[in-house]
């Protein structure tokens, strides 16, 4: 072989790589930010689980699975996704009904055992619901009329209600807002928004009537955690202690006494960010929140440059729902919001939510990849 052929081969390989990259066409800033977040999450998990390689390996495998799903979905054109949407939505509804009838789990029927794997159909709803609302509003004039608004609200209410009934308030909330964000992004007028928010506030006492006792206790505890410091208030108090004791610079990696000594319950799942805050301080928190903000902003930017209404609404909703995770979880561990079982996205230990989140971002990546076919 001559040097010339080698050069040619190298150039060929480079061209092939470039072509491949163009074909894949992933949004590198978004992908990079998500990967950084996953790595940060694994690091916190390692520390919070006191170096449990089991948990870290487990979570890493799920993240790999999630990334695979994400890459795969990023190859599916939004138009195809849109055509799948009604079926996907109806399937989700069917599974939600099934889980109400045959589901299992401690205290709440959330899991469906399919023999080979157990999963929560409510996780599917996190995707299928905003897709369905976006599908519904896709070819309607926007801002939506009262009639389409009512129909969209019904599309949201059915799965959200079924999930709340399991009961899983956190997921119902996430599913509900993901639908609401689609409507919001659809351009519903501000007077209507105020009217809806106002009537929701008015309906709160009615919702209280329908809540489970443990859910009511969570709200009571949120209002006054010190009333029962050993019982229901324990988690909030210990989380605040973890966060507060972290200070500006934190106690350092693997130095969370609140987690290591078991004072903080659920310190690898719902309360993992309190461990992070304890170990990395306000600086660490600010950096991670900035990372989240970047991801959300990037998602909205992608949505704004998407080719059609369905893509726009869906990408925007996914980005904004991601914010709700951060806000609800961060608010919970700092005592700003009541305890609701919402994980800190991609940091909390737990496979299903990691996979469903990455899948959602896969859709956003796909929307980005297929933006060029349209006039900006």
């Amino acid at each position: 072989m001559t040097a010339g052929t080698m050069t040619q081969l190298r150039a060929g390989a480079r061209r092939w790589k470039q072509r491949l990259w163009r074909r894949i066409d992933l949004d590198l800033p978004l992908l990079g930010a998500l990967l950084v977040l996953c790595v940060v999450g694994l690091g916190v998990l390692y520390s919070a689980s006191a170096g449990s390689t089991d948990q870290v390996t487990n979570q890493a495998l799920r993240l790999v699975l999630g990334l695979a799903v994400m890459i795969t979905l990023s190859r599916v054109p939004p138009a195809i996704l849109r055509s799948w949407t009604p079926g996907f939505y109806l399937g989700t509804l069917a599974l939600l009904v099934a889980v109400t009838l045959f589901g299992e789990g401690r205290g709440a029927h959330r899991w469906l055992d399919l023999g080979v794997l157990r999963f929560q159909p409510s996780e599917l709803a996190k995707l299928s619901l905003p897709m369905m609302v976006a599908w519904f509003l896709h070819d309607r004039p926007l801002p939506p009329s009262w009639g389409s608004l009512a129909m969209a609200a019904l599309l949201v209410a059915i799965p959200a209600g079924l999930i709340a009934e399991q009961p899983d308030l956190g997921t119902a909330l996430l599913v509900g807002v993901s639908g609401a964000f689609v409507i919001f992004l659809g351009g519903i007028g501000w007077p209507r928004i105020l009217m809806l928010v106002g009537s929701a506030a008015a309906a709160a006492p009615i919702a209280w009537e329908f809540m489970h006792e443990y859910q009511r206790n969570r709200i009571r505890m949120f209002l006054d955690p010190e009333a029962d410091p050993l019982g229901n208030g324990w988690n909030i108090i210990q989380a605040k202690i973890a966060v507060g004791s972290g200070g500006l610079l934190g106690k350092g990696f693997e130095a969370s006494t609140q987690a290591q000594l078991d004072f903080l319950p659920e310190h690898t799942t719902d309360f993992i960010f309190a461990v992070f805050a304890e170990e990395w301080g306000l600086i660490g928190v600010a950096l991670v929140v900035a990372l989240y903000l970047f991801i959300i902003g990037r998602g909205l930017w992608i949505a704004a440059s998407a080719r059609d209404t369905f893509s726009r609404l869906l990408a925007g909703s996914i980005a904004m729902t991601f914010f709700v995770y951060v806000m609800v979880n961060g608010g919970m561990i700092t005592g700003l919001l009541p305890v609701v079982g919402v994980p800190m996205p991609l940091i909390s230990y737990g496979g299903t939510s990691a996979v469903s989140l990455l899948a959602a971002w896969g859709i956003v990546l796909s929307i980005h990849a297929h933006r060029r076919l349209v006039v900006g």
């Binding site: 925007g316 904004m320 700003l336």
Partner: protein
């Protein structure tokens, strides 16, 4: 309209494109607004973190440390108790107890219920747990059960993870290897109860046990030591993970008693199972060599809480084993009082050693038809002090008491310590009764009758002495009327290798006898009791290789009415006389003085004198310790 709308944007005319353009603008406005709201919300969230992590950092830092680090008292080990030769009387042995920290348990009743499925916990232990718990603050551990068996420890270890806040803790428990031998002297420690919290020697925080009776109580401060403390890192379940800082406790001081355990054993043996009390004192220094109250009981029963069954058995046992006769038993001294009254007669100038009295067997006060009797029918004839003591002639002392007068007699006898606690280093001592007109007026609100002076002369009537009083008075007599407070503490010691710090030399007063010859006369009379040809206890003194001075006494529970004969076989035991005997030896230079009370023993010289002799033998004939 609707059908047209469903067509895709591309296939429609420019109007639709324009409409799509305005939709895009609307979306972008919304997305921007949404992002702005999100930005503000996340800033609020970061602001909240700022409040917690920077503004309130000190508060939460403190709470995090308080979560993690708990100061824990480190109990000192209690000082040991030895007899004068270093024989162990009280020690500490390793045990395991089950305890829980109330603060770390959400439902204590439920935890206890589940615990009972793993380890047997008696209802009274639960009761005591509740009591102890009410005395302690929540973060202190509260013992649930003491003295776990090895099997129980192992069983709990298996289930430990089910019981956060509960732990098996090794501890040292008090153990009395001599069992019941010295319970009435050494006493015992017991679990701290409500009343103990008021005590001056109670140390809050770490004490689980405190001296309840005897030496354990008397020298609590010496024995208890000082607690150290440690800063311990704890996890949420209350398990100590590591010690961050430790200030070691100061161990309690060891206590050496004047008691000679070997003599104590010999004394107990001399009683041959009968009830009673005996005390042996070294008259030269007031050391209590043996102090026996029988029956006794095993002190170990009380250390970790006596079971109801055991306690009921002790209460129901014959002869009240819980009663400390040596210290609190009140006995009529009878004729053991005669040497003291005889000395009073000489010292007060009422009689001389050679003054004689004629005993006819009956004594009457002028103008009174009532007769007081001698123990010997027909009397003893003409007797001087020596014979009066040797034969225990009542008539001699009836007259003597009348001549001295009860108040003067009392004043004199007070110098021997009668009528007041001796001040021995044990709590709960009785004070007896030294009869006098005033005493009767105050306590009985009745005038004094002349006849009561007569019987006071032979130690009867209102007289009450405790065995320790009698022994102390005898030791005083034996040591030339120099009164020394009897005491049990010989020395204290700081740790096993520490030097023994002797108990300060007891305060001595000068002899209160005016004429040593008077004392000598009384002592001679007491020698005659043992060795004289007419001595009432000559049978006991006969074969003694050393000379003994003694005096018997028989307290009459069964009062002899005129003409009624006393037949010991026909009187039920609790009505029989108490036999008393006092003796010291060697008579010339006494090193031991003993007072013996044998309950229901009939005759002092027959029942109590042999006991006294065996005690003296055990002390004086023992091969000297190496």
């Amino acid at each position: 309209m609707r059908a047209r709308r469903r067509l895709s944007v591309l296939r429609r005319g420019p109007r639709r494109v324009k409409e799509a353009g305005s939709q895009l603008a609307l979306f972008r406005a919304r997305a921007f607004t949404g992002f702005a709201i999100i930005f503000v919300c996340l800033m609020v969230l970061v602001g909240r973190f700022f409040v917690l992590q920077v503004m309130r950092h000190d508060e939460f830092h403190g709470r995090s440390e308080a979560n993690r680090i708990k100061p824990r008292a480190v109990a000192p080990s209690r000082g040991l108790i030895y007899d004068r030769n270093g024989e162990l009387l009280a020690e500490n042995i390793p045990q395991y107890r089950l305890e829980l920290v109330p603060e770390q348990i959400r439902d204590i009743d439920d935890t206890l219920a589940r615990l009972r499925q793993v380890i047997e916990i008696a209802p009274e232990e639960l009761e005591r747990f509740g009591e102890t718990r009410s005395l302690k603050r929540g973060f202190n551990s509260v013992p649930v059960k003491f003295q776990l068996s090895e099997e129980e420890v192992a069983r709990f270890a298996v289930h430990r993870h089910e019981f956060p806040g509960v732990d098996v803790v090794p501890y040292l428990t008090r153990y009395y290897p001599q069992k019941e031998l010295l319970t009435h002297v050494v006493g015992y420690v017991g679990r701290v109860d409500q009343g103990d919290q008021e005590r001056e020697d109670f140390q809050a925080g770490w004490m689980t046990h405190i001296g309840k009776t005897g030496i354990e109580r008397q020298y609590e401060r010496e024995l208890q030591g000082e607690a150290g403390y440690e800063q311990v890192e704890m996890n949420a379940q209350g398990r100590a993970l590591r010690v961050l800082e430790r200030v070691p406790p100061k161990q309690g001081r060891n206590v050496y008693l004047t008691i000679d355990a070997q003599l104590q054993r010999a004394t107990v043996a001399a009683f041959e199972g009968r009830a009673g009390s005996a005390i042996a004192i070294d008259p030269r220094n007031g050391d209590v060599l043996a102090m026996v109250s029988l029956p006794s009981y095993d002190a170990n029963l009380f250390v970790n809480g006596i079971s109801r069954k055991d306690y009921a058995a002790l209460l129901a046992a014959p002869n009240r084993p819980l009663f400390n006769r040596a210290l609190q038993g009140g006995y009529e001294p009878g004729s053991t009082m005669k040497p003291f009254i005889g000395l009073a007669g000489l010292e007060l100038g009422v009689r001389t050693p050679s003054t004689t009295v004629f005993s006819t067997g009956e004594f009457r006060l002028p103008g009174n038809s009532f007769a007081w009797h001698d123990w010997k029918k027909g009397g003893h004839g003409r007797v001087d002090l020596n014979e009066a003591l040797a034969q225990s002639v009542n008539t001699y002392f009836y007259g003597l008491a009348v001549e001295i007068g009860v108040d003067r007699l009392g004043e004199y006898l007070k110098q021997f310590g009668f009528g007041a606690p001796t001040g021995i280093d044990l709590v709960g001592e009785g004070k007896g009764v030294l009869p006098s007109r005033e005493w009767k007026r105050i306590t009985q609100e009745k005038p004094w009758y002349p006849g009561e002076t007569v019987i006071a002369g032979i130690g009867q009537g209102y007289w009450v002495v405790t065995p320790i009083q009698l022994a102390s008075a005898l030791a005083t007599l034996a040591d030339g009327a120099v009164r020394i407070r009897p005491h049990l503490l010989l020395a204290t010691q700081d740790g096993l290798n520490g030097a023994r710090v002797p108990f300060g030399p007891p305060a001595t007063t000068a002899s209160f006898v005016h004429d040593p010859a008077n004392l000598e006369a009384v002592r001679t009379g007491m020698i005659s009791v043992m060795h004289g040809p007419t001595g009432t206890a000559r049978a006991v003194g006969a074969d003694s290789p050393y000379r003994i001075a003694g005096k018997s006494g028989t307290a009459q529970r069964f009062r002899r009415k005129d003409g009624a004969e006393y037949d010991e076989n026909r009187v039920s035991e609790h009505l029989r006389h108490q036999a008393l005997f006092v003796a010291y030896a060697p008579a010339e230079a006494p090193t031991i003085a003993v007072a013996v009370v044998v309950e229901h023993g009939n005759s002092g010289s027959k029942a109590a004198a042999p006991v006294a002799r065996r005690i003296l033998d055990a002390w004086l004939l023992r091969s000297p310790p190496q």
